[in-house]
Symmetry: D3
Subunit: 326 residues, 6 copies
């Protein structure tokens, strides 16, 4: 068994750099790809079933004609991680990327040697690539900048289908990079002016002890978001509410944070450079991430810090570039 990572693609395990999609594929012609990205805690896959469930909802709405079942895809994921495990460090976590594309367009189906039909891909790489550089953010928090780029309303292209036509996320990131200071992350409003989501994360505020999320409308309904609302907060008896959040509400909030699969939760300590609460990670934020850590048997923050230390200690090939485009 080799120590080189491999990618599952249409029934085979191939070299990571060979995991590629034809330029004639609908994925590249139309951004027509449905995907999921998961993580493990202590090498245990987290909410993998929920991710696959969501993937299949997207495939159904987009009328993909897939021959494998949810269960088979689940097994593929497990097997991919198993095959890659030898290539992972002991303290690594698995980050699976599941990509499904519709396949090459009809007029290209006869190209010599081209793959016809959908592509099913499962890649697996160390989670630290993504999060190493974020270790300090758990303490400093981020500054959310409200971009002039707004999200696309769901009735025009639904972000709840986790798809690849997301150029506007990237444009929000570019806009965020124009702001002064550090740790600026884009926060996007929806066309009604309500806070929608970040470019790859969900947003929460806490006000008077209540955890409040924007209504699950113009956003990807994150599985991390759902976990916090339906499992984590209830465990701590924190009441949870979904409602339209205006920027004013966020400015008035006691705490704010974002969440996403790779980093779990990161505090928002200011928005447009205006302090939220006292400008530091809030008490409920700390309780929530502590509870989460205890649930999965990993000190989530410490783990990221350790990965960060490691990367400074020894020169490694896979150096972590800044979290440019999440």
């Amino acid at each position: 068994m080799t120590r080189e990572r491999k990618v599952y693609m249409n029934g085979k395990f191939i070299k990571e750099s060979d995991a590629k999609i034809s330029i004639f594929d609908s994925a590249l012609m139309f951004g027509d790809m449905v995907f999921e990205m998961t993580r493990s805690f202590n090498k245990k896959h987290f909410k993998l079933k929920e991710h696959i469930e969501r993937l299949f909802t997207g495939l159904k709405i987009l009328r993909y004609d897939l021959s494998i079942t949810k269960e088979e895809l689940y097994d593929i994921c497990i097997e991919t991680a198993r095959q890659n495990e030898p290539a992972f460090e002991k303290d690594d976590e698995h980050r699976l990327m599941i990509d499904v594309s519709r396949g090459v367009l009809g007029i290209y189906e006869d190209i010599d040697g081209i793959h016809n039909g959908p592509n099913i891909i499962v890649a697996d790489f160390p989670l630290k690539w993504t999060v190493k550089g974020m270790s300090k953010l758990y303490k400093s928090g981020i500054n959310n900048v409200v971009t002039s780029q707004r999200v696309i309303p769901s009735h025009l292209m639904d972000p709840k289908i986790k798809n690849r036509s997301r150029l506007f996320y990237l444009m929000a990131n570019i806009e965020a990079s124009l702001f002064k200071g550090e740790n600026n992350w884009a926060l996007m409003l929806d066309p009604d002016g309500f806070i929608a989501e970040g470019s790859g994360d969900n947003f929460f505020i806490i006000k008077d002890g209540v955890l409040i999320s924007p209504e699950g409308r113009n956003m990807l309904r994150g599985i991390t978001r759902q976990y916090i609302m339906e499992e984590l907060a209830p465990r701590l008896n924190i009441p949870v509410k979904e409602k339209n959040i205006e920027l004013f509400d966020a400015y008035e909030a006691d705490e704010a944070f974002i969440c996403a699969t790779p980093f779990c939760m990161i505090p928002v300590t200011s928005i447009n450079s205006v302090k939220i609460g006292n400008g530091k990670p809030g008490e409920l934020f700390k309780s929530l991430i502590k509870e989460w850590s205890s649930m999965v048997g990993i000190d989530i923050i410490k783990q990221v810090e350790n990965w960060n230390k490691d990367s400074s200690k020894k020169s490694t090939k896979n150096k972590v570039t800044p979290y440019k485009f999440k």
Copy 2:
């Protein structure tokens, strides 16, 4: 010199089926790819400079950092066609597809053997693949169906940057496929209810001798559209106007047609099964395509009909599947 088609990719000519993009590329992560598709008439490239010009405007707005110039890209296109010419039939036309992607995201740059930096790709395949199946449409016209899928307004994601985050085009196509009858092509309104564009074509009406196009706002401003408005119509002394077009205006029009690079122009003889004009290709449509044919020295309609005949005569490997997703 071999008779196999090849694709230019980052300085090399490779096998067509090897023209692929890494799953870690921004193109597949965000639909972050800018592209152009051109055609030739009598093997002469048509408006190639204009296509490259438009490509570079998109690259600039999206802050791609490309090392080659417009002129160099032009030369690459010419060379790609030259290299592929032996693999083309005598009566074939070149269809170039120019794809530029930003490259793999920062955190994946150290994957073994992965290509860093932008991808520049020029593919070249016979135009007949795309248009063969449309030969009858020049006479029958198409039926435009107004889909409930509307275009994304340009201030949220600008279609004038020809990009790959176009899942909503595909969803409009799916919706069009649900309608009774044949030759149904999607026609999308913008959020104000004005006619915007088809999922890959521009729309025109003719009323009282005036050629009218929707304002160039929520659409790709097609190079074919521009050619018709700025060169073809003036040659025939047909006045041209850009204005907001409502469905009512289209129903009241004398003629309507769509245009796009591969098929030039096709009449719209009904919308939602309501006849436009007398339900047949209009006189000005015929004049325009005739003038165009004479300009490029090719009977445009005849050429497509010939390709179609050919394909019925002899069994060919590259059979043309219906123009499913343009």
Copy 3:
């Protein structure tokens, strides 16, 4: 006592075909008519008071100056049904149509022999005319097609006033008739892209055991809808929620159905040809209609099936044409 149906009109009972409105009436000049349509179960009027209540709210907002009271109108309805009963079959149900118009416009008041002042009309015909053709739908369910026709937002013309300016309902029906397949019923979004209503029916989804209706905003707040939410579901301990429903939510739902006075409830087994749940009438749907049947002492589905059988057995004058425009 004759066996011919009669229509109450301004104090008299007249021949059905004589129930007419002057072309100079505000009803025909402006679509300025408020109305209700009710039904009976086992010849017992259902929610007649609620219908009349809603009618009078509309009259008040539209500033009709009516000389009769709610109670008097109620009595007129009862009397109309009583007078018509002899003309009904034993297994028939009464379908009352109550129409109130403002009367002829001022400038026409002096036309010879013209009726001045409001018109109050109560017609009564067998419910089977409306529902006979729907018997199979209780089992097959309908396919809701989302039309490009959207509802008019309530702040421009309020559907909660049950009025006759509803040309857009009919246009949605026309659009629905253009789709492939059978049993296509129009489902309209509101201008924000939320599901509003059908062209004469209210829409529900069921998700995780909860009955969910769109917020009662851009719709007629159906009395059937209210009955299901406030009486039927509570009897079965089904929790009920009003919220904005997106198409995504409907695709993800376990069940969906529509409701309206004549047919009570009909399952929605697909939307835009995408299966909802397992593509069959759902369990909660079945429980609800069963409970309803037991409440009114009629097997609702069986009754419609019987009417349908009857109509095939013997040739009847009042043949039922397809539920073209409800």
Copy 4:
């Protein structure tokens, strides 16, 4: 030949008060009726062909299945006026009302004695009924009040199809009646805040010698409006422009007026009680109506004044009530 007015209805001439539509007709169920109202000058029909042309466009879009041609309808109109002429005073003008309805809904087609299929109706009454009460307005002008009632945007229900689902016109009229002072006519904005139209008239401003109309979008494109823009103004060398008009533009205008078939043109001397220009009928208004008068050989204002005098001199049966609902 009798001196009683008659109405053409489906091939017959009937008593005016018998011109009625069944309550089961789509016209009364859905406001589904297309219509035109014309006038004569010196007993000569004005723009009758244009009216019929517009009617047929509406019928086509609404998919009415009519068996008569435009020419036949034209002849019916002529014949109706001819038959009614004996019942008109010498100084009367003909006001034709052409109503077309789709007919009774399918489920009512078998009602005993009911008319199946479309209704085609042409009524003819003296124009003075409508305009007598307006004689003073040519001098005083009207005060346009901007109502909170806005027009329905054309992509939801197109006012360019002259139809009867116009309850919102009537609601605007009710709102206008709540304002202090006299001669208040409703002026409606469209959802973007641009001036659209009155509830039965088109709006114009004049600024720096240019005649400006709102873009022909969220309005009935009046035939009178078209006559003024395309014939009358050009005859006087007044340049004409269609553009979005804001309330600010109207306040800043030199003149403003409304137009409609029955009264031709009436000055708007104030809006929301703010004077337009010097608060009197403007010079260009006067020139336009003078030119019009000379074109049709009738002093338009004088004619209305005469009708008004007549009605005060002798007690007449057809007394004119205030132009309540146009």
Copy 5:
């Protein structure tokens, strides 16, 4: 100690007519002033802390750089009232007006003798000035007129920051003054057509025993409103709900009222001249204001009536002009 009222301004107490702001101040250049207006009951300040809290939220979002703390401002308010008390009648209540401006713009800072930096102002005048003229409204109620002027949506300029850029309030007032009848107060819709607020008051309806307020979005979230919802209604076991309210809901309501700091609560007995409920102050309105009176030890209505009587008895210098612009 003099009996003349004084205004606190930047550390000093000055003559009331000297309380002025430089024309070069940002307050006058941009409407850039944050403010609060409070009242006392029995000379006891009501919710003063809450007012100051809200003021500081506004200052924070607008990035005012203020050197005093909330506590210091509180003390200034107390001191201002104390100093003014001798100039008040025994039965007077204090009406504090707290104004904070950013100060003169940078380019004017060097003007001779000009005050640099923020202005902090606390004025104090008898509440009766504001409310004396309203005494009859507690019994008659007001007529809310829905203006064509709509509120500015909060994402464009947030009314929750109590600021001075409120010209649109005044325009709504002007519009209300154009309606027939008396006691017309403007009621503004938001751009979605929901009821937002009056031009200086919050709106409530009561339906089936539930107190319903518009969602706290496009409005100033009044401290009076909050008091009613969070303290008063709960004391009477009246359930409270925030939801989008349409005009239809208001027409259908059992009761409606407005609230604001100076007058507490006033019934809305009609909207656009359509009676709400029975057109008289409702029972729950009466209970609420009675409870409030008992809470603060003042008969709120009686107090206003007494002030009104006083003003008719003796000629006073400070005559009360109609509540023109609140």
Copy 6:
């Protein structure tokens, strides 16, 4: 004659620092003030009549009841400048600020010593205060940053009435100050996503030799803008067009610039840090400002540079702070 500047206020000339408005004035209660700011060239007032004309349009729409005429106000302006001239340097230009407020609200009219009725104020200060710091911008150009703050649409509060309810301008300025780099000026979109205006300046692009301005809708229609479009550009035979401008159009433009009374014209050399044209002041910009200079007999750029040099040479009391809030 003293060398101290004075301000005209309601008939008197007073000390500059005494030019103040009561906190009880509608101007400070509602941002209810109409104003103009002008400039001179070579001490000659520029377009003063046009400014006064615009002021009076605003006053009329806002129903100010002013007792002076346009001509009298003009004379006051002239006299104010005359009186202040001795206090100006030889190379100074006059910057008049004309402020009109409605006066104190009714309930405050009896305050001892308070001014009743409108305030009419004309201040006059050296233009260099405003523009001194901008001298380098004529060469470097500015970077327009598109803020998430959008303009308020004109139908909610019309910017064409030059009023003081402009807090959103200031919020855009704050947002612009958060961006990296220098010379960032806010550029605001309207709610449809079109470019509207800066926070105190109008925006132009030049494309293919045509000068293009946004439609004069959601903006102050600047008098400078009008001068450029109607006088300056025609003198140079530059065609001028008003149309909706999208950000894409601006990115594609050959040149862009802003204009406003104090600085005339300043090039926009980048937007969101993307170069416009070659990133330098454009040729047509240079021609226009050169022509303007020659028209007014002043080298506009040189004049500002001289003022700037002066201010560095000698320490002056009126030091110029950065153009923080225009």
